[in-house]
């Protein structure tokens, strides 16, 4: 039985084929490299969205401050939300989907490697469309849930909302394409013996998330199509004078928006479910229940959307139904929390940075879960919704849940990603400053909210009893910023000169730890046969991987060619297709500018470009 970490070699294992030029990154179809692209891009946007948050908190540090104008503030909070949801947490999860799913199920790549690259480039293009305008003071300013009719041309005549609609539409394409890919990968590419109930919990939660994506994103696609048509073609979906009902947008948005919350949180739950067993040296307590509760959370997630709308006047029956369904979600969520605690119970807990982040998630998500129950009671929610209390709630869930879980994952998987360890001392500093900062920022918001402070106000008057809480929140941001700075220093330094990790530095039980770190391009020299949920704890190493003699030659790993493994060709086509598609959609902006011929010209040119690229893609061989 492998109880402890495998010894680390002196140098990084490599096939000697690793290409590093820019072109190799632009044309890559390797799921691991695409995962790294997602990770680095999302961390960049994390800094971007964090700076927006820092300006917001500086403006609110005291009453009646004038650091930014109302219009600038409205752009900042809109972009902070949009960035953190669509450009940080979702792609950070995508980084792990890409990197981990094939490794965890014993596959050599995802089902459609080129579509995978396409997803990334589309995501990047969408991210640029939605974030760049803030540099020109034209950022979207309708809030991240963009309630109509404020977002219609009658009330937002600038280009701001156009960028938001187009950007989100493009990002939706990226998420959907990726979801089809991962669903197929998980259904079809599991190694022999990797039955569904032996899959690692991260893969399970990812699987649930992909279904949420394919079922939830079309709904916001439709809602955005209506808004786009209204703004560019003069339709009436949200035109009040034509009798439109603004609640149409709210229902469509939240039918997407609530599952989106689980799209954000379930991958983090999955990561924590990997980290806790490893560092407790115990199997996950109640694996089937954790899996079923994840599925149940996902399914119930489609039946609770209107709890975001208790104040719109839906009537007592709808309010009661949505109150009760929302409370029901607490049950599988609570079960997960208690099962995680039980996983640690009786274990040998090692306080690595990764484990500390995982434990902090359990502690802090509990707070967010409890305040969530407080919102579920419709009449009580009338005092909470659209106040800072709700801001506190979803930050406990998204920072205390999703971000901490992802951080646990980053510290845990960095060795697999790079072959090197993140520094544990810096890691602990990062942990303490960030977790203290997070609590200091978001706990006082419960207070300011319950004492009547509405959200999304660019300033507030003195003497309202909110000064102290706001000041504390703003000070907390300083701690968070210090923590993240330490993290980035650690991340960059360790990538270059961290300690060599070896295959399995943590003594972890799942398949991805059986192979070299960093992972060779073909992942598995031979496809393992799985007989246990924790193969590295329960199975003999020789059953899983071939002997060193068979996989190495002359002190290096064998190449794919030497092992006789066909690899997909790198190709620029996904990137070209993504650029054409984005440019085609952005041609619509010239309709707003009143230049129809130019708009049509761009859209037709780029449409033809896209068509030719796809034909080329269709007809060129994969490998």
């Amino acid at each position: 039985m492998t109880t402890m970490a495998a010894p680390a070699p002196a140098t990084l294992p490599t096939t000697g084929e690793y290409k590093t030029g820019i072109w190799s990154w632009l044309t890559t179809v390797d799921h691991k490299r695409i995962g790294i692209l997602y990770l680095v891009t999302a961390l960049f946007f994390f800094v971007w969205g964090g700076l927006e948050a820092a300006i917001i908190r500086a403006q609110l540090a005291g009453p009646n401050m004038g650091l930014v104008t109302a219009q600038q503030y409205n752009q900042l909070f809109t972009m902070h939300g949009t960035t953190m949801v669509f450009l940080v947490i979702m792609p950070l999860s995508s980084a792990f989907f890409n990197f981990l799913i094939p490794l965890q199920i014993g596959a050599r790549d995802v089902a459609f490697p080129r579509l995978n690259a396409f997803s990334y480039w589309v995501f990047l293009a969408g991210g640029i469309v939605v974030t760049l305008p803030i540099l020109f003071g034209m950022a979207p300013d309708g809030g991240w849930f963009g309630y109509a009719p404020l977002t219609t041309k009658a009330y937002s005549s600038g280009y701001n909302i156009d960028y938001w609609v187009l950007g989100l539409q493009i990002l939706g394409v990226a998420s959907l394409a990726a979801a089809f890919n991962f669903i197929t990968t998980i259904i079809n590419m599991r190694a022999p013996g990797m039955v569904l109930m032996r899959m690692p919990v991260f893969t399970w939660m990812s699987f649930v998330v992909q279904f949420l994506v394919i079922l939830a994103f079309p709904v916001i696609t439709a809602a955005l199509v209506f808004l786009l048509f209204d703004r560019f073609f003069g339709t009436n979906f949200y035109t009040v004078a034509a009798g439109a009902d603004p609640l149409l947008w709210q229902h469509l948005f939240w039918v997407f928006g609530h599952p989106e919350v689980y799209i954000l949180i379930l991958p983090a739950f999955g990561l924590v479910s990997e980290v806790l067993p490893t560092f407790s040296r115990k199997p996950l307590f109640g694996y089937p229940v954790i899996v079923y509760s994840g599925i149940l959370i996902g399914a119930l997630g489609f039946g609770v959307w209107a709890h975001h709308m208790f104040s719109v006047g839906m009537g007592p029956i709808a309010d009661s139904v949505f109150s009760v369904t929302t409370m029901l979600i607490a049950i599988p969520t609570g079960v997960k929390i208690l099962n995680w605690v039980s996983t640690m119970w009786g274990g040998q807990i090692r306080f690595t940075t990764s484990m500390m982040f995982a434990i902090a998630l359990v502690a802090m998500f509990t707070v967010g879960g409890i305040s969530g129950i407080m919102h579920s009671s419709a009449p009580a929610d009338l005092q909470q919704t659209d106040s800072y209390f709700v801001v506190a709630h979803f930050h406990y869930v998204l920072v205390g849940g999703a971000v901490l879980g992802i951080m646990a994952g980053v510290y845990y998987y960095f060795p697999k990603l790079t072959g090197r360890m993140l520094d544990e001392t810096l890691g602990k500093w990062h942990f303490w400053t960030f977790v203290i900062g997070t609590n200091l920022t978001f706990f006082p918001m419960h207070m300011s909210g319950l004492y009547g402070m509405p959200r999304r106000i660019y300033t507030y008057d003195a003497g309202q009893g909110w000064e102290m809480y706001n000041l504390l929140s703003s000070i907390g941001v300083i701690f968070q910023a210090i923590g993240m700075t330490i993290f980035f220093v650690n991340f960059i330094r360790s990538w270059k000169k961290g300690a060599i990790a070896g295959n399995n530095p943590w003594g972890a039980p799942t398949l991805e730890w059986a192979i070299p770190s960093p992972v060779p391009d073909y992942n598995f020299a031979h496809i393992p046969v799985v007989t246990s949920r924790y193969p590295l704890w329960d199975q003999k190493a020789g059953d899983l991987v071939k002997s060193e003699a068979e996989t190495t030659t002359g002190g290096r790993l064998k190449t794919a060619a030497e092992l006789g493994i066909p690899m997909p060709f790198p190709t620029i086509l996904p990137l070209v297709a993504a650029v054409f598609m984005t440019a085609m959609l952005c041609g619509l902006l010239f309709i707003h500018a009143g230049n129809l011929p130019l708009a049509l010209g761009i859209m037709i040119t780029c449409g033809l470009g896209l068509a030719f690229t796809l034909i080329k893609w269709l007809t060129s061989p994969l490998e």
Partner: protein, 228 residues
């Protein structure tokens, strides 16, 4: 995403050199997921139409006449159910032709039967053409319907009914158009090198999409045209 997924699925683009866990082809799994997603798109579009039904503040209306109070002009109920019934029938028949096209491809290497009718049944070109033509006919009906509505005073900007109707049926029409192009691409391959039973999967996936688009139309026809 539709085109990209189809493109990838159509291009032998999957890592297919070893067995799959389920025995199903990757492309088929992906297309089923894609269709599940498309269902939610059409559910959203149809729901919007139904939510906005009867809320338009000005006509023309789908099922009642409307007199413009300003001009006194009378606008007739605009939906033409007999014509649309015909186009629905055409689209249904196209699904039948699609089934025959797939069967023809699957049976390519079986010995050719002697009867004239049986031989026609084995012509993949004939049935692919038939499907594409019936699909195009449906699109022709839709073009006729759209232009006549515009002549009668209903555009996508007129009222909530116009906005939600044209968007919904327009999206469906766009899906049929994609399907027709897909069929033409298959025909291109058929003329170039002949479709073999090994290509049956490609035809099968196209058929899956085609039937889905057809089923969506049945829902639209029932909910939008038949129910008043």
């Amino acid at each position: 995403m539709a085109t990209a997924a189809i493109a990838e699925s159509h291009s032998h683009g999957e890592v297919s050199h070893h067995r799959t866990s389920t025995g199903l082809n990757h492309r088929k799994v992906a297309v089923w997921a894609f269709i599940g997603s498309e269902c939610m798109l059409f559910v959203s579009l149809i729901s919007t139409y139904l939510i906005y039904k009867g809320r338009s503040v000005v006509g023309p209306y789908p099922h009642e006449n409307w007199t413009d109070p300003a001009t006194g002009k009378v606008f007739k109920e605009i939906l033409n159910i007999p014509v649309t019934s015909a186009s629905t029938f055409v689209l249904l028949m196209s699904s039948l032709a699609m089934v025959l096209a797939l069967a023809a491809v699957q049976n390519k290497d079986k010995p050719m039967p002697t009867g004239w009718w049986d031989r026609q049944l084995r012509s993949s070109k004939l049935w692919l053409w038939m499907t594409a033509l019936l699909g195009t006919t449906f699109l022709g009906f839709q073009a006729y319907e759209f232009t006549s509505f515009v002549h009668e005073g209903l555009t996508i900007r007129t009222n909530l009914f116009g906005s939600s109707f044209f968007t919904l049926t327009g999206f469906h029409g766009a899906h049929v158009t994609v399907g027709v192009l897909w069929l033409l691409a298959l025909l291109g391959i058929d003329y170039k090198r002949g479709l073999k039973p090994a290509d049956a999967l490609n035809v099968d996936i196209a058929a899956l999409y085609w039937h889905f688009v057809d089923v969506v139309w049945i829902a639209i026809f029932t909910l939008i045209y038949l129910i008043k």
